[in-house]
Symmetry: D2
Subunit: 214 residues, 4 copies
């Protein structure tokens, strides 16, 4: 379900959702500037759910024996407790619905990074994390990585709150190679899962289209 891609000069690997036909169709609908908004939202929600499900495979599981209705023992799996989500506002919030549809009761924190329109400097101006976030695996939600600056600020805040890099899985829909490399270099122990790495053109208006504020 996941391909791994080694960027030349990175110490770790970027994981990319397998480009099956349904995934490619969803990416196409999201990129198409003529897609009507309700169809855009539907396609985005599907792609986000597929990304979340693939991300869940990367979290730790334990063996778990259960008894079936016919009385047989079945050697199954259960996820280890202690995961949470953190969405980077604003576009990361579009991924909360998909996360909730796969993990009904997962705690979801939030962080707001704004970019100064003149200087281009990213700045954290709000955050709300689960109290015990340092002990949790964190699914960090952000759909579009261009330069990566916004994610850098958010990740720095997680680290300040004593979340180890190893505990962070950044779930992303579209990333530039440059942005992914930048994050990968700065946070080599963090995992990144995306659905597509591009040289240049990524749907930077994703959040505005999803919420209709374009």
């Amino acid at each position: 379900m996941i391909d791994e891609r080694k960027l030349d000069d990175c110490s770790n690997k970027i994981k990319v959702l397998q480009a099956t036909n349904n995934v490619r169709e969803l990416q196409t609908q999201i990129r198409d500037k003529t897609t009507a908004r309700d169809r855009f939202v539907f396609a985005a929600d599907r792609l986000i759910r597929l990304t979340v499900e693939a991300g869940l495979t990367l979290l730790p599981y334990s063996e778990f024996k259960v008894v079936t209705p016919h009385g047989f023992t079945y050697e199954g799996l259960t996820h280890q407790p202690g995961n949470c989500g953190v969405s980077i506002m604003r576009s990361g919030e579009a991924m909360e619905k998909g996360l909730r549809e796969c993990c009904k009761s997962m705690r979801i924190g939030k962080i707001l990074v704004t970019t100064d329109e003149e200087t281009g400097v990213a700045n954290v101006c709000y955050l709300k994390f689960p109290a015990d976030i340092a002990t949790r695996k964190v699914l960090l939600l952000y759909p579009i990585i261009k330069s990566g600056d916004t994610c850098v600020k958010a990740i720095e805040k997680l680290l300040e709150n004593e979340v180890p890099q190893e505990s962070i899985l950044l779930l992303n829909l579209f990333a530039t190679v440059e942005g992914a490399r930048c994050l990968s270099e700065q946070f080599p122990a963090m995992s990144i899962l995306t659905t597509e790495l591009s040289e240049t053109d990524i749907p930077t208006n994703f959040g505005r289209r999803y919420f209709g504020t374009d």
Copy 2:
């Protein structure tokens, strides 16, 4: 996302959803006789959606160029029109919600196969198909394949309605090897996608638990 498994004496291949950890956890929750009903339904809905998404990758797509908001051309994909769903009552109806969540407007037909409790003979006693079903690809929905008899009756009705075997994709959650082989032998050109093949113990009470009529 999909593994292929060659049954010894079958001419065609059974496709099996890759047994990633999240898939295995969902199978475990569905098999566990102690799972509460709302959790059972939530796990079933997730596994069904994953099966539907994997099934959609097997349908035909066409190349589709779109223009992005930045004015670039993107070489994408779009599914070919002319698909429909058919659920085999009653347990197949549990899969309609997941189908709808991936294919919002897909037409969904229905077929009721009942089994005589004394003779064990399966019998079709109701069907409602889209008028032009013979020209459509059919996602046939049935979660549990034990002997395969129920599916055989349903597939025969599709063939009577001039749907070619090649146009049928049976989406299934749990199958016995024997049942899958039986279907595969009788309908060698039909595709089957399941999440798990077992020697014996499969959750035959799936539909009753999903709908709460156990």
Copy 3:
């Protein structure tokens, strides 16, 4: 939220959802022959949810004291256990999703009534009820009442299974005055909740449009 309407010659009352503007808009979209199918389904789901919520107000509740996070006692309500849904196939199944969205774990039985195309006689050819249905309140789901024959057959089966008339609440979207009167006369202790009573023109193609089998 509910208006009551006394039909001239009926002993009991038909309850009608208050015709607020949003309800009337949904009825308009469902009646409009030009409404696209995904919009039709969306409007139907909203109207069904409103009908289910209004229906839930008619079931029995008990006083229920709870303690708030601030330590105060709050005199609240809780529904009495022992309700279930029964959908009359096929169009009644369109109401299952809305029922589930308001009552996550409610058990849902099913009954298939077919009409002989030559004689016009309605006939029950399949049913699956929760085992203890005689002790439950039954939300009977059927969106379109024209002559009422289909509902009569279904209700007779409930009575055969020892469900008292008083325990049945028929949830309906569109009914003819004649059909509603017929049901009301035959089953005077049963409750009926609809969103609109019409002299003649009701959207009899509702189920086929919802499922796309027209």
Copy 4:
């Protein structure tokens, strides 16, 4: 569906959702400190949807004639275009899902008001509105009104962006009488719809419980 309540010294009226049994049960579950989080979220989502549906009845509609599949003319209604949602972060975001389930494609803006923990002063530190918000009706989403300070800040920003008071409908779940009076006095032409007015004890932890950051 809606009751009106005149506060003694207010020039306008506060609208309160009718306290039917199902509404009271949902309020009880949300207030109950022992409610598990997935049940809390389910109850909140239902109550939010009922509030949104009731709020939609207060927006402007136009007469709209449609032709039914049987060829009859039906005198219906359609809502006037030009509505949008604005959620006040963070707890107001919990109401976005319910808004989306009733108004699939509605544009949703956002405003972040933070409260200085030392001085208690509320401050707007982020906002994102649809470009043409001044010409739209605004469904302002905020579930808990205690002092009303947070809403005051948000409403002031709407007014600065030239949204007339008359165009604002504040959708709320729980309000103190004092908070509602404060808003009503300051913005007499704005509409407020809530599900419950209390003297003191309101579930101020609503947002934290909904998102699991308590």
